[in-house]
Symmetry: D3
Subunit: 270 residues, 6 copies
């Protein structure tokens, strides 16, 4: 059974947790090798899938509330655009690394391809601790970040979205900065915007809902009966908590959840 | 005396040799700190001088002569453009690293600023072994590299030049690719081109001649009499060998030279 | 009852009539103040709603049929684009003023916002008397006007349309000039074009139909019974005459109509 | 009866066959004159319909497999864009001429206009013999051709498609080159792409299916009963063979087919 | 004598002082009429010289130090560019008006033309009181102003410069904003920059020096002997005080100076 | 002797005269073959020199003074830009042909290369009879021609100039149209402009003066003594008549001149 579950998605989730300890991009490359071996993929194509097309690293000077200038490091990795514009979130976290960006942009590429969505994959990030920053500092950081990556994003190039610690409000700053710098009043370059700025309804539940569709397909293929299956959920933020709710509605028994501070476990269901 | 010579330029040359063993960019940052401490530089400005404005990392797929596709990794680091367009060479070498690019682009910035030239600093590189590649492979690699960094170069943005293992012929491919992609017939985006493509005369000796001017100024400030001074030269390629010739003409006694394979030493002069 | 009807829309219509005598933009600002007071709108947002984002004033030299060059003054005011591309007509009239442009662009902004349409507001105009100009002169004026405002219009920026004394034929000249100058064969920058140039069907009745929907909603909210209500219509051009027809069909009794030359009044209905 | 069938479409097909012997563009101009005479078209408009808006002729240097550089001549004729972006295929054939390009682009213009499709007409071609070229040579030719005409194509300007001896694979090279040169990952500039690159399903049968619709309309207007009608088909490639199949399904009796090598004839049907 | 001195330059200076009381642009148009009458200028050309080619009015929202958003109004008037890129300063003053901008841009046009310099004329301004604003507020105002007029300035379009209450430091913010928004490191779009940002030496004295050249030419033409001439200077800022110094060196006797607060008068010289 | 003079330049001049009867481009290709045979030029380079890089053919609709629309055909051939931006005149003549354009652009390329000037070669033309057109018609033709070729000209791409029947006034319309369409006030895209629009002094005599320099060099190489040499001049327009004057001043005896209407011949000198 373990072998069966040990799929790409599981490995990836584990890697997403531990990006600081193990090298996430190495994991992604191992996954790629395992998958393409099974496909007997042309090695000339594999060669082009093994590295991101482009990574842009930028310095982001921000005037902090105390008057000092602090310079943050930001990234935007575009892994592959052969199937369409790159797509992927931007995370604000002290532990963001170049290798993490490369790995996450690879996974975005594969997720879109496997799901048949006409997008490539990208990922962005800024090394910062948003919990210790004021709203003004976050706004200045966010606007400058978009300015710095402006030439490589757009509705036909790369479409950023929210990710760890980036909110609809930040997406609003992103699209406003994009519009100001291009002289447009267009809203297709950023997803996850506030509804008032023409963000999509249902965006908040979208990740969990996508997961529940995947679980449904996987269960059918593995002959798992939801009413007899038990579920453990790692992470209890937006994706985890809503997944728990939806899977529960679909008849799964949630027996464990955990987040960065601890976990709860009950074999009878929580 | 040692202390007196142990200046920025010396440290830098030492670092240029050992970029694989020690972290060149750390050296550059230590130099910056030492220099700016003496200047009592505003820490808000120092913060912006400590990291490159922008580094672009790109994948460069090349169809090799045997039909296989090989994907190389290329870089272009733009350290600072406050004083003018970035300026700096592109090196082709198996040991090119991101940190080396950041360090070399910092040194280009400081060299231009110290010499009062209205340029900022940049550096590029591709991880490859040009000694094992055919001319056709090198041409395809070079043209694709310029394509990949096209949006950040130009006469008002960043002006590449030759460096380790890149020749005037390669600069010719660069400028031709730049012109084809922009629809122009202009020659100001690349320096070190062949004379037929309006490269500068005297370009070959320029590095060594620049060094001799620096030596002249330094000798005057340190009260060193050329006829009584002895010189040791590390590296005996284009820069080193022509420097030996020019310094010898200026009356210095060259007592030692070395390159990657060994050295010659004679206290009476070589 | 008067007080109830004395809403934004009424004030605005009155202002549209009298732009030469009273300052239309002052009226708009009073309306804004009254509305935002009721909303307790953040004064920092109000500050940005009180003035147009941008007004471009241009000189339009036209070779007249008698060979002389006459220079007309044209305007394009873009009031606010926070909700989408600016939208608004262009009027040709001897009495066009800067303040009228600002007022009308403000009203376009609010109309789109109140109706929930994803557009901002704009208005353009040229000081001229189209009744005294030949078709050739009008064509040259129209083409040059679009040339002069080209850099601020487009499907993602600002989309002009017909207004006082500007016709579908003029919109045809506009879109042709836009296409020639951009090298495109696109039709989304101008509305109100002739059907042959992919204008919208029903465009002629659209203003009156929009009014009838507004009247319907207003009547419901004010508990007005159409069959017992009487209607007076100021202006009997495209908007007025079709409104009369539609409102009549909806059961309203039209008791008075007027245009710039006089009025008809009959309490029993016309 | 002959007179009745001797319509624009017939003349055009005959001309398409004989472009080397008779001057196809002269035929197109005669057709135009005949049609516009019947319409009493304004001669000022006719003057603008008699010549293509623009023809771009380009040299296409290609490194052949034997190392030699061969320079091919390519064309892109844009006949008229008043009704929308130009649309038309690209043919690779040794007999391509400037006049053929002009004629075919005129016919594309009229076909789109007569069918009420919001496109203008264009045609491209390269003088070459694809049967004697390797896939690598064809790829290099195709990519360079698109590069050379890049500034005049795009989703709002001109949208190339397959034609004689150009395949979906070639369209894939086209769109990839277009995307690389514009920095986009967009797929609307080229039609007839492989399905994996978001080409349209049913594209292969589209020409024949369009013909069958035309036959259906024509039969109705001429009071031809399909079950009593006989059909001869000139050309038995993609268009001809599928037309035979579809017309047969619609009850027509196919009594003759021919291609460049010979013909088959049977009054009882084939 | 009065009549002789009552030249264009005098009228203009008087108008510059009183822009709030009399309509400066009316004065400029009277001057134009008087001058072109003497030239018998073609009325078709005169028609195009009577109004500015273009005036852009923009709203400039600025976050003030107390957190509130204040929206300032800015202008850029480009009077005429037939002889070269527009050239003219930007003033920050509470009394800036549209008509003043039009008048000052006309005078810049004529000054450049009369002096034979290959530039046209422009003028910009922001309605604000820089004496009551902090440096941070001024920086944010200045950067946003350049952003708002970005599309109409540049080395081949229009080159702003300092004027009333705008300093080299403000020009530094201007050029930095221009470079950031265009991705360039170029310095030719703004004059009057600090020397460190490649401003011109002697810029501070340039206005006064230009005046002294004009005085010299005028004196020669009017047969005025400097040693017998007396000078009164209105305004004692940068232009006035340095003019006093230079004219004094050239032998003129300065008998009166005044500024916005008062004046000094001594027939024997000051 | 005949053989010695029968050089490239002579053949070319003869061809320029007879472009209607013999195929000028065939002559150019024969010349190229003869010259490159002597140079043993790499055939891969020759292949690229045998055809123009690009020819753009455009339709130029012009509203004639009688109200009718007449559509002219215009060309711009860019032969080669490897050494710099293309350079070459535009001729207005009823006999302009595609082949003539190709030939003349080839000759411009070689003239610039042989003279060591950093430009490539181009030529443009419009099929029209300027002697039968009014000034207004010529202006509208000229402005539309520049519009049609706009995307391939510019100071870094291709720089048009006067040629047969095109005057400084026409160059003025060209540069004004170029500036209006690009939003610039720049003068480097067109040469041969009126002096008031920053045309070069001495432009009128430049062709003849260039010829006299060539004659001087040729005479030296062929050991021809000017005082003993006789000269015949074909064509007596701008180039021919001024050449006669300059060569006469240099001591040559002019014994014959001719133009399109006849010739004068006197062995003793004219």
């Amino acid at each position: 059974m373990i072998n069966q579950i040990d799929t790409l998605e599981m490995l990836q989730m584990r890697a997403e947790k531990d990006t600081n300890k193990i090298d996430a991009f190495e994991v992604a490359q191992i996954q790629l090798k395992k998958a393409t071996n099974k496909m007997n993929l042309d090695p000339n194509i594999l060669a082009q899938l093994k590295e991101p097309e482009r990574v842009l690293m930028v310095s982001i000077p921000v005037k902090m509330d105390n008057g000092a200038v602090k310079v943050f490091t930001g990234f935007r990795a575009q892994y592959n655009t052969a199937r369409g514009p790159a797509k992927g979130g931007v995370r604000y976290h002290p532990d963001v690394t170049l290798d993490e960006m490369k790995a996450l942009s690879a996974w975005m590429t594969w997720k879109c391809a496997v799901a048949g969505i006409p997008y490539g994959g990208a990922k962005g990030g800024v090394i910062c601790n948003p919990k210790e920053m004021s709203e003004g500092e976050l706004e200045r950081l966010s606007r400058r970040y978009i300015y710095e990556i402006l030439s490589i994003i757009g509705p036909k190039k790369d479409i950023p979205a929210p990710d760890v610690y980036t909110t609809p409000k930040i997406m609003g700053w992103y699209i406003d900065t994009y519009n100001k710098l291009t002289g447009e009043a267009s809203f297709s370059t950023i997803t996850g915007k506030p509804l008032e700025l023409w963000g999509s309804e249902g965006r908040k539940e979208a990740t969990a809902r996508g997961l529940s569709y995947t679980v449904e397909v996987a269960a059918k293929q593995l002959n798992i009966n939801p009413s007899k299956a038990t579920v453990v959920i790692q992470g209890y933020g937006n994706a985890g908590s809503i997944s728990a709710k939806i899977l529960n509605e679909q008849g799964y028994k949630i027996i464990g959840v955990s987040d960065s501070k601890g976990g709860v476990y009950n074999l009878e269901g929580i």
